[in-house]
């Protein structure tokens, strides 16, 4: 199995299959908390589309196809009061993604209660978790009996939007990061959120997973805009 880091997403190549994995999207985040929710052609949404196009361009540059795109949940922020126009946009968005691959899979997140009413179930697979060979993809807010199976070696998930603040004497900047570590017999990869929503420094609040993950022991990887990997080693060693 090969894992390539591309911006905020990863591409998994395994046994001839190419799988693009994308973290929490939270479309419409900036409207949440506003008085009225307008059409979602706002900058965050535009940015998401732009970033995705960039990634797809990189992934497909050798005219290789993508077999699967997996969205790790939390597609739309604040789903309950969605307007028709917004539904339309979401459907459009997902349809356009579907066209780029053979199979589009969404692992349901805690923000996705209403998603099943919106999507075309014939085209898009909406599941609690998705298992491919020895890899399990899931959002990360809930535990399931099946995913603890011994045959599964990897859990790939989102949910906590990991970020890390780096600082020296007079500067501090926040970066999205990947977290990689172990839990029992599983290798875990946590993806950063895909949207521009500012995440929270992973040291500043407990990771809200149903398992007791020792996040402090996880490796922190920051991916630069040029897809260069900066491995910072264990979280606990970073000041």
């Amino acid at each position: 199995m090969k894992i390539k880091y591309i911006g905020k997403s990863i591409l998994i190549e395994k046994e001839g299959e190419r799988i693009l994995v994308i973290g929490d999207l939270h479309i419409g985040y900036e409207e949440a908390g506003n008085f009225s929710s307008g059409i979602i052609n706002n900058s965050i949404y535009i940015q998401i589309k732009k970033d995705l196009e960039g990634i797809l361009k990189k992934v497909k540059k050798k005219s290789e196809k993508i077999n699967k795109i997996i969205l790790l949940g939390d597609i739309k922020h604040g789903f309950s009061d969605m307007e028709k126009s917004e539904r339309f946009e979401i459907i459009n968005f997902l349809d356009s993604l579907k066209k780029k691959c053979e199979e589009l899979i969404i692992t349901r997140g805690n923000h996705d209660n209403f998603l099943s009413n919106v999507i075309n179930k014939e085209k898009i697979k909406l599941v609690d978790y998705y298992i491919f060979k020895d890899i399990c993809f899931l959002h990360g807010d809930r535990d399931f009996a099946d995913i603890n199976d011994k045959k599964i070696k990897y859990w790939i998930m989102g949910h906590v939007h990991p970020c890390i603040t780096l600082q020296d004497d007079n500067k501090s900047e926040k970066y999205k990061c990947f977290l990689e570590g172990k839990f029992k017999d599983k290798n875990i990869i946590i993806l950063p959120s895909f949207c521009d929503k500012g995440g929270i420094d992973i040291r500043e609040r407990e990771a809200r997973y149903p398992w007791k993950l020792k996040i402090n022991e996880f490796n922190v990887k920051i991916i630069s805009d040029e897809d260069e990997i900066f491995d910072f080693g264990k979280l606990k060693k970073i000041n």
């Binding site: 900036e30 409207e31 908390g33 506003n34 008085f35 009225s36 307008g38 059409i39 052609n41 706002n42 900058s43 603040t165 780096l166 600082q167 020296d168 004497d169 007079n170 500067k171 501090s172 900047e173 970066y175 929270i200 420094d201 500043e204 920051i222 630069s224 805009d225 040029e226 900066f230 910072f232 080693g233 060693k237 970073i238």
Partner: protein, 860 residues
């Protein structure tokens, strides 16, 4: 036209001659004679002259303004000619008006009516209506049925009622406008009012007479123009009451060095106790909320039980009810002493204060006068004040303030010009009234003194924004007006226009308070320990240590309106707690201190001469003069002293390189200079640079600083350009943008009755700022935010003057290298950084941090 003229007072007989017999009889049954202020004002107002009356506090200004008008209304009512309309509007920036109005308007009216009744003279009722933000709907409805003849209101309420058709019908033959406390309106609130007044004049068939009432302020000509706008004459009555200011300066201990010593600060409380004891009621100003609490705490500690129930605190973060209660108890004489930050400077009558104590410098002459004017509020008492200083810089500063007060020199107030956010709000208000021709609207706007120079470009940009031409609909910023390019007409858009306008009006930004919550240690988690200012939070980064209520905390992170901290830290604070409340030293006073320094330096060799000079120069006692002399002599021995013609720059290396400027221009000028130089230094090395600023100087610090190149980079003609780039990505611009966005109604605080929290406004404005910058970096409201940063927060105009003088050689620069920070730079150095100029980009920083991190790990 446009003539501004200083006048002399009338004779008592001249004023008596205009009074109706009843009014005259009433007046002299209450007062022995006219006050000087009344001699200046009453007849001129009665003769319908625009007039600005400036008199020290303790005058009889309000009645002066009303007496001529009352006289006129009484005459009409006796002749049975009183119409059903508003004759006079009285506007005051103070919300708690009712007491003042009761004394100066309602009581006189009742007494006059009783007198007339006794004499069997029939009078129509003269009605007074009061409308502030607190006025109930029932009362407002009453005003609509029974139109008041005198309408008492605040600037905001006045603007609201101007959108009501019914009200405009009642006011379309207005005869008088009184603006009280105009000295407190040299802000955006005043700019706003200036346009409201033009709207009032516009709707009125008669040109109403404008009367401005002011405490001591300078320059009066400018305030007069601000009052009347363009194309109108104005008289200025500069009333000098023959009250003498009694002012003294003192410090605890034998000498001032001693009072800097913490141990000896006990003596401060003995001095305070003595002063309080000697006077009936004492008011103490401390500048900050924290100090207010501290003084009360220590007074109680040193004199247990003595002050229980007789001492009160008064500051802006106390609840309105609590403050009212203190004011009420003051008036009743129940309190022996009140300690206030700045909140009691202005406003309502607070009874008889005998002494005002100023702890810490009030930073400007007008502010010092205002504070001391709170004592001896009654007509014939002298205002008495006492500076008590605790360190030597404060001693010099307060001495100069004292000198300026005694000599009657007052620092210049500045009124903001061409504020585009205020303009946007007013244009919206105007569009709600009726459909306007563009030229008619622009003419009205330019009649305001604050918009005389408004460019066509600015005007059209604001119209474009309001008409939705910047395509911000998807940001929930909807068009508020329509603008027809062909007919050049402007009108309102949307059914809710009036409601939106009414519920979002105003210019005072809402500042949020952040609750501080303990995160660490776990056993105390979730415990909230107090509140801090939003602006204070903006300065902090992870790991910073600050004090709150005397206890130290380490800042971890913030979420919405909460800041999470670690308790039980022992390290020293990295951020001074008073930062956000600090008053800036006025430029004029700063220059005067600079001049004073230079004059002493010239005499430093001759001790006797120098001390005699100081005594006569600042009108002080010998012991004060000696202290000041010793301070300067010591400084002079160590290194050169900076003054108004010499800037000293010291460079030293600590954890990084520091370039520290001793530039005595006040923090507003220093802020502008610091940011410009920091930007230069950052640009030269492509690394981030920190700055620290106070009234006496500023520093910039970073890994390496090439001070010569940096000094050459910043030229006076480039200052605007450099600063524009330097503040572009800072929190201060973002914050000011939020205020401007709220004022220009981009962000609605209230929509369909739902209030939006400051936190949410903040989030929304963050997104808006990004969006706006993408659309146009010259978006009018963004321009306004920049103007506010440059002109109101900083003082770019005077900063430029300083640079020009440096270029001409009138101000000399001397660079010295020191092994570590010099004693005079120490305070500034310890106060720490106030901001950071970002230059290094994220990618670079990431690479560098990664390298450092690997090294650190390997090192272990």
């Amino acid at each position: 036209m446009d003539e501004i003229k200083y006048i002399e007072s009338n004779k008592s007989q001249e004023v008596q001659d205009i009074l109706n017999p009843i009014v005259k009889e009433w007046f002299f049954s209450r007062f022995r004679d006219f006050s000087l202020t009344q001699l200046y004002g009453v007849k001129n107002i009665y003769d319908r002259k625009n007039i600005l009356i400036s008199a020290p506090t303790g005058g009889t200004k309000t009645l002066t303004a009303f007496l001529g008008i009352l006289n006129y209304l009484v005459e009409l009512s006796i002749k049975n000619e009183l119409e059903n309309k508003i004759y006079a509007v009285y506007v005051s920036p103070l919300k708690a008006l009712s007491n003042d109005i009761f004394v100066n308007l309602i009581t006189p009216l009742e007494q006059i009516r009783e007198l007339a009744e006794k004499k069997g003279i029939k009078m129509q009722e003269i009605r007074v209506g009061l409308r502030t933000g607190d006025t109930t709907t029932a009362e407002r409805a009453k005003h609509a049925r029974k139109i008041p003849h005198i309408y008492v209101t605040t600037p905001e309420s006045l603007a609201i009622i101007l959108t009501t058709e019914k009200f405009i019908e009642n006011i379309n033959a207005l005869e008088f406008i009184i603006v009280d406390e105009i000295h407190a309106l040299t802000s955006k609130r005043g700019v706003y009012l200036s346009l409201t007044l033009e709207r009032l004049s516009h709707f009125s068939k008669i040109e109403p007479v404008r009367v401005g009432l002011s405490a001591t302020i300078s320059p009066l000509e400018e305030i007069a123009r601000f009052l009347v706008g363009n194309g109108r004459d104005c008289l200025i009555a500069k009333v000098k009451l023959d009250k003498k200011i009694e002012i003294n300066i003192d410090f605890p201990g034998e000498n001032i060095i001693e009072s800097e010593n913490l141990e000896n600060q006990k003596k401060l409380y003995s001095i305070l106790d003595e002063l309080i004891e000697k006077n009936r009621t004492t008011l103490i100003f401390t500048n900050t909320r924290a100090a207010t609490e501290r003084i009360i705490h220590y007074l109680d500690m040193h004199f247990p039980g003595k002050y229980e129930g007789r001492i009160g605190a008064h500051h802006s973060s106390m609840s309105k009810e609590k403050r009212f209660e203190i004011e009420e108890r003051l008036r009743k004489g129940e309190l022996k002493v009140v300690v206030s930050s700045t909140s009691l400077e202005l406003g309502i009558d607070i009874g008889s204060i005998d002494l005002v104590v100023l702890l810490k410098s009030p930073k400007s002459v007008s502010r010092a006068l205002q504070r001391i004017g709170r004592a001896g509020h009654k007509l014939h008492d002298n205002p008495r004040g006492e500076f008590i200083v605790l360190d030597r810089d404060d001693l010099v500063e307060c001495s100069i303030l004292m000198k300026e007060m005694i000599e009657g020199k007052i620092d210049k107030a500045e009124i903001p010009k061409n504020c585009l956010d205020v303009l946007a709000q007013q244009i919206y208000g105007m569009a709600i009234n009726k459909i306007w021709d563009e030229s008619e609207m622009l003419t009205l706007i330019r009649k305001s003194y604050c918009y005389t120079q408004l460019s066509n470009e600015d005007f059209y940009d604001v119209l474009s924004y309001l008409a939705g031409e910047y395509a911000l609909e998807h940001r929930n910023v909807y068009a508020k007006i329509w603008y027809d390019q062909k007919t050049k007409q402007i009108g309102k858009k949307g059914k809710l226009a009036r409601v939106i306008y009414m519920t979002n009006i105003g210019t005072i930004p809402e500042e949020g308070f952040i609750t501080v919550v303990i995160q660490d240690p776990a056993e105390k988690r979730g415990q909230s320990v107090g509140k801090i200012d939003e602006s204070f939070l903006e300065r902090m980064k992870r790991g910073d240590i600050f004090a709150l209520g005397g206890i130290k905390y380490q800042y971890l992170f913030s979420r919405g309106m909460k800041a999470y901290v670690k308790a039980g830290v022992t390290k020293n604070p990295t951020i001074p707690s008073w930062f956000s409340e600090q008053l800036p030293l006025s430029f004029d006073v700063a220059l005067e201190i600079g001049r004073f320094r230079r004059l002493i330096k010239e005499r430093i060799g001759n001790r006797k001469d120098a001390i005699a000079f100081i005594e006569s120069h600042i009108h002080c006692k010998e012991n004060i003069a000696k202290e000041i002399y010793e301070y300067f002599r010591e400084q002079d021995k160590f290194c050169k002293i900076a003054d108004d013609k010499n800037i000293i720059i010291e460079k030293f290396k600590q954890d990084k390189e520091y370039v520290l400027f001793h530039s005595l221009y006040g923090r507003r000028v220093n802020d502008a200079l610091a940011r410009a130089y920091a930007f230069a230094a950052a640009r030269l090395k492509y690394r981030d640079i920190e700055i620290g600023v106070n009234d006496n100087g500023f520093f910039i610090s970073g890994k390496e600083i090439d001070e010569k190149k940096m000094l050459n980079f910043v030229r006076s003609n480039k200052l605007n350009e450099i600063l524009k780039e330097a503040v572009e990505r800072t929190e201060i611009l973002a914050r000011r943008f939020r205020h401007c966005a709220a004022r220009s109604l981009m962000i609605l605080r209230n929509y369909k009755g739902r209030e939006k929290s400051v936190g949410k406004q903040q989030m929304h404005s963050g997104f808006l700022l990004l969006a706006v910058k993408k659309i146009s970096n010259e978006f009018p409201i963004l321009r306004e935010a920049r103007r506010e940063v440059f002109e109101d927060l900083m003082d770019i105009k005077n900063a430029k003057k300083v640079l020009e003088q440096m270029e001409k050689g009138d101000i000399k620069i001397k660079l010295i290298r020191t092994p570590f920070v010099s004693p005079f730079g120490l305070n500034l150095y310890l106060e720490g950084k106030s901001d950071i100029i970002k230059m290094e980009d994220r990618a670079n920083f990431l690479k560098r941090m990664h390298g450092m991190h690997l090294k650190a790990i390997e090192g272990k």
